[in-house]
């Protein structure tokens, strides 16, 4: 108890309560009894932080003894729950991009933007999946698969509200390592980023007004009420746009358009004019304009052409 109170010296407020199976920043458990070991196993399976106490001679190397000095215990707790000033407890930094910077890279100054959005952007140069952690929350970003996973819906919501908040730590995982985490909830990364960027549209720096295009349709299945996303995706799949013209075409604000493009950039679908591949020719019309207009109206779609 004294050690947790001393955490205030590191600017950390700690609330201590008996373990009840719910999520917490850290579980401190006695590894010498069955209840403690069960609690440790459950929390580790969820990817949570654990500090074990054991007086057994064969205890694992990271366990502490019950006679540990308070100051040492404070350091151990701090290293686990706030590792940014010391060696990361569970994470390694994602390697920076190794390819030559493009104009877009220059625009994406990490000093302007941090948080999970930057983690997603950097994941482009990372082979494998990225486990991102902040406080008690962890999300697994599978950018190539356009999926994001977590242990609970609340973790995804917590992550979504921290898209530009710093202090995420990251760890690159192979597919096998990622699968072993057995994350309980998985959803579309595209939808996650679109919703998250929309909520912070006013905080996102404007992308340069170059030409942009989508290489593929984003997964908008979980966003049936987000008509603006469908409009923007449809326009950006068909041809290259500068963002001002795109906002005007779709009847949206510059901030909405910019936020959608940030989401698509982070999901890996947005191409700048430096790397656009010529799109396939548009399909020939299969139904009369009258029918298409009536169908579009029935499904709440704007149709200008």
């Amino acid at each position: 108890m004294m050690a947790t109170q001393l955490m205030a010296a590191h600017g950390l407020t700690v609330h201590v309560r008996p373990w009840d199976g719910t999520r917490s920043s850290l579980l401190i458990a006695n590894a010498d009894d069955t209840y403690g070991r069960n609690a440790v196993e459950q929390v580790r399976r969820r990817g949570g932080n654990v500090l074990t106490v054991s007086d057994q001679p064969g205890a694992t190397g990271d366990a502490v003894t019950s006679s540990i000095q308070v100051a040492e215990l404070v350091d151990r707790i701090k290293a686990i729950v706030a590792p940014e000033t010391g060696a990361p407890a569970v994470a390694d930094a994602v390697a920076p991009p190794t390819s030559a910077p493009t104009a877009l890279d220059v625009a994406l100054d990490p000093a302007q933007l941090g948080g999970l959005l930057q983690v997603c952007l950097q994941a482009a140069s990372t082979p494998g999946d990225v486990l991102a952690s902040i406080g008690p929350w962890q999300v697994l970003i599978r950018r190539d698969a356009s999926r994001i996973a977590a242990n609970a819906h609340s973790d995804l919501l917590a992550a979504q509200s921290r898209l530009v908040i710093e202090d995420w730590t990251t760890q690159t995982l192979s597919r096998t390592e990622a699968a072993a985490l057995k994350m309980e909830v998985t959803q579309s990364l595209d939808a996650f980023l679109i919703t998250g960027c929309d909520a912070i549209a006013d905080l996102l720096p404007p992308l340069p007004g170059n030409g942009y295009q989508l290489s593929n349709w984003p997964d908008l299945g979980a966003l049936p009420n987000h008509r603006a996303a469908l409009q923007l995706a449809s326009a950006l799949v068909k041809k290259r746009w500068n963002l001002t013209a795109l906002a005007t075409h779709c009847g949206l604000t510059a901030a909405q358009t910019n936020a959608f493009c940030w989401a698509m950039l982070a999901s890996g679908l947005l191409q700048s004019d430096l790397n656009i591949i010529a799109p396939p020719p548009p399909p020939a019309p299969v139904a009369s304009q009258n029918i298409l207009t009536r169908l579009a109206r029935r499904f709440g779609l704007f149709r200008s052409e």
Partner: protein, 174 residues
């Protein structure tokens, strides 16, 4: 060019959710030709479509969209050209938990585009929430293999709003 009744196709392997999606979108009681599964029946799926599903969805006034579900079994493939004739587009539903997801995608895109080369597609991927290894990259690679670029959305076919999103995506791609 379609001037009269609008026809939408639902295609895909057995168990992908075609019948469920049609039921979600329908304004009228669907006509289904379901029979008990002779093998691999589960609590979640005990029947399968043996001819086709049919229902309608009112647009406005006299315009109605006719929804046709093509049976997933290949032994009914003789019916596909008949049903596909004059369709506005095809919604291909795929099961994300299938170990042959990419092959399923390629098979159905090729199968439908062979009989209706100008048909527009949208792909609906079901059960993605219970398939932790699912990757949309498999679907995108399958489409690329077929020379098709179409919307691919993960959906729950029991949710009308998400099924309508498939139709919206199809219309947006036209």
């Amino acid at each position: 060019m379609i001037e009269g009744p609008v026809k939408l196709l639902f295609a895909g392997p057995v168990g992908a959710g075609k019948t469920t999606a049609i039921r979600s979108l329908s304004d009228t009681a669907p006509v289904s030709t379901e029979a008990a599964l002779s093998e691999n029946a589960t609590a979640a799926k005990s029947t399968t479509t043996v001819a086709f599903d049919y229902s309608t969805m009112r647009v406005d006034g006299d315009l109605t969209v006719h929804l046709y579900g093509i049976p997933g079994q290949d032994r009914f493939d003789f019916m596909r050209p008949i049903i596909a004739n004059g369709a506005l587009g095809a919604i291909v539903l795929l099961d994300a938990s299938s170990p042959t997801l990419r092959a399923d995608c390629v098979h159905w895109l090729k199968s439908i585009s062979t009989i209706a080369p100008t048909l527009q597609f949208v792909i609906g991927v079901t059960k993605a929430d219970v398939a932790p290894d699912f990757s949309l990259a498999d679907i995108r690679a399958g489409m690329q293999q077929c020379g098709i670029r179409a919307p691919a959305l993960t959906i729950d076919p029991r949710q009308r709003a998400q099924c309508e999103q498939l139709v919206r995506a199809l219309l947006s791609s036209l």
